[in-house]
């Protein structure tokens, strides 16, 4: 328990907690966006993330271990996953919007099953890893606490994406339409907006974010089967805590989750996953729509 009083040790935990939180924010923001506008809980979001990771690994093998190669891999992975998302939405998902929630859930779960096997078929079951891009491979020491540049990059990227989203949703005409679609789809359609292609666009955007986070996670975690299910549970906890459909809620939820995990290990070493689910349950009991969410009609 002595380490609890050591500020530098705590700083190290803070760094790892914030990195986890910002990663989760990248993934969970797409999940939250889909729920906010399309009103669907997309279990397959984790699968898109995994596909992004596999494509990124594959591309670094082709493009080489340079910073440009890594950047190229990230771009190719996010764009391909975005296209895949668009195809799924056009061919299948759009027929699910009017179905009961139970069927929507099972539909996205079916996609999870299919994508996980497709990944196994294409990329095998052995773990793959990607080294950090040379430009971000370093780290600096702060009184013995190591800060890898890559972690700092991720910590900076999270708020940047959040801010970008905020500008997009609140200061552009597209954003206004999207907010309107979240409130009343039919009215928006009656006013002459092509809601169907708007939905496709939203799903493509969310898939892009999933692919991007999958690609960016490769230098930190190895790419293995099962990473889809692991991440979707975490992202799900995050959006439920923060409020499904709320961007700032998702950011807050990510911070709560990441920091609970990082510091919970110190106080409560054996039950840190347990703590996350308890927080989720308590939030659902007290405020089912999440800390910063809005009650759904």
């Amino acid at each position: 328990m002595a380490e609890l009083l050591d500020p530098f040790f705590l700083l190290g935990q803070l760094r790892s907690g914030l990195t986890t939180a910002m990663f989760l924010f990248l993934i969970a923001s797409g999940l939250s966006l889909i729920f906010g506008v399309l009103k669907i809980i997309n279990f397959a979001h984790g699968s898109l993330y995994m596909i992004g990771a596999y494509i990124a690994w594959n591309m670094t093998v082709i493009l080489g271990r340079t910073s440009i190669g890594f950047l190229g891999a990230v771009v190719v992975a996010s764009l391909s996953v975005a296209v895949l998302g668009g195809i799924v939405e056009r061919l299948l998902l759009r027929y699910m919007y009017k179905r009961p929630e139970l069927y929507q859930l099972l539909f996205t779960y079916a996609l999870v099953l299919i994508f996980s096997d497709v990944c196994k078929y294409i990329w095998g079951t052995q773990p793959h890893s990607v080294s950090r891009p040379p430009l971000l491979a370093g780290s600096f020491d702060f009184y013995g606490v190591r800060f890898p540049h890559y972690d700092l990059f991720i910590i900076a990227l999270g708020p940047l994406i959040a801010f970008g989203f905020w500008v997009f949703l609140n200061r552009t005409s597209y954003g206004r339409i999207i907010r309107a679609a979240a409130l009343d789809r039919e009215m928006l359609g009656a006013l002459g907006t092509n809601v169907a292609s708007l939905y496709t666009g939203m799903f493509v955007l969310a898939a892009f974010l999933a692919g991007l986070s999958g690609a960016l996670v490769t230098p930190i975690k190895s790419v293995v089967p099962g990473m889809d299910v692991e991440i979707i549970i975490e992202a799900f906890i995050v959006v439920v805590i923060g409020g499904l459909g709320s961007l700032w809620g998702t950011l807050l939820g990510s911070l709560i989750y990441g920091l609970t995990l990082a510091f919970g290990i110190l106080i409560f070493p054996r039950f840190s996953i347990f703590a996350a689910f308890v927080i989720m349950a308590v939030v659902l009991i007290v405020r089912p729509w999440g800390l910063l969410g809005r009650p759904m009609k």
Binding site: L106, A110, I114, S116, D117, F274, F277
Partner: protein, 330 residues
């Protein structure tokens, strides 16, 4: 002519017929078929208990595996660590499932639609995390192995059954207990209480206006379903010769949900049919390819787009169409 045929089909005690056919399985088939049949019977019971919530009350629980797991652990721990005889331990497993469901359900029934599903799942994950980490009692990640077989000495005096091997005896024990449980569930859904549940499913607001305490009814059926899931879990722990945290994990909840939907939520026997189809299909396909999840996902897509009423729903639909076609010709 037709009316009498329908009357005849109603007069046949279908449950008894099914029970007798099932009882013949060890006689006709090999040990392997007995094994499969035991598995199917246990999951039929589990899926039917879930359908009390989904099909009859309109509550989509995404954490039903929690109560299955609780029942399995309680039954196994009482039998192995405390030496309680099987029947008492099994019933205690059911009570354990019902108690957990009552406590969790108290909070869950306050929420509607998607939030209800999420909270049931969160509670199930809490149960899973406890089972996964509480090494001293549940064996943690390693599970709780070597659950003893019930002593089935009392079966010895039955002339033919007495001489059977242990897994055949366990099959008969499972068949009897599951048949009793399923019959009990059937009584429940056809009772006035069950009718209240369907009225809540169809229109909770109207039921409330008619003076039904909707939440109380939902809580009671949630506990009952948890209890039957616990009973199924107790049997499965023994059948599986061990209880593992996976029993409570969310893919297990998804599995039983798929069985229920696959069979059809709008008929009492749908979930049992779904359990049988899924288990048989799994056995068949796994012997050809390792990509069972892909096949299952594809089946789900076909089901969702083609047969939203499930297999039983599709069959009933087909019969209805044939009948109306026959009537049209006359």
């Amino acid at each position: 002519m037709k009316a009498s045929a329908a009357g005849l089909s109603k007069r046949i005690p279908w449950m008894l017929v099914l029970f007798l056919i099932a009882a013949l399985i060890p006689v006709i088939g090999s040990r392997y078929y007995t094994f499969l049949a035991t598995d199917i019977i246990i999951f039929a019971m589990f899926a039917t208990s879930l359908n009390l919530l989904i099909g009859y009350t309109g509550l989509v629980s995404f954490g039903h595996a929690a109560y299955f797991g609780v029942g399995a652990y309680v039954c196994a721990i009482f039998m192995k660590d405390l030496g309680v005889p099987f029947l008492a331990a099994w019933l205690l497993g059911g009570v354990g499932g019902a108690l957990f469901a009552a406590v969790f359900g108290f909070f869950c029934v306050r929420l509607t639609s998607v939030y209800f599903s999420m909270l049931t799942m969160a509670f199930a994950q809490i149960v899973w995390a406890i089972c996964f980490k509480w090494n001293d009692v549940t064996g943690g990640e390693q599970g709780y192995p070597n659950v003893p077989m019930p002593s089935m000495a009392w079966l010895e005096w039955i002339p033919w059954i007495g001489g059977l091997r242990i897994d055949h005896k366990f099959f008969y024990l499972t068949l009897i207990l599951a048949a009793l449980s399923i019959a009990a569930m059937r009584r429940i859904v056809h009772s006035p209480f069950g009718r209240m549940l369907t009225s809540i499913r169809d229109n909770a607001e109207r039921a409330q206006f008619n003076g039904i305490n909707v939440r109380l009814y939902q809580l009671i059926v949630f506990s009952i379903a948890g209890g039957f899931a616990g009973l199924a879990g107790g049997l499965f722990g023994i059948f599986n010769r061990g209880v593992f945290p996976d029993f409570c994990y969310w893919p297990k909840s998804a599995e039983v949900l798929i069985m229920t939907i696959l069979g059809g939520i709008h008929s009492f026997w749908g979930p049992s049919v779904g359990a049988a189809i899924l288990i048989l299909l799994n056995q068949y396909i796994v012997s050809y390819t390792e990509y069972w999840p892909f096949v299952l996902g594809t089946i789900l897509l076909v089901l969702l787009f083609g047969f939203p009423g499930g297999v039983v729903g599709a069959i009933i639909d087909l019969f209805r169409r044939l009948r109306s076609a026959a009537r049209g010709q006359r």
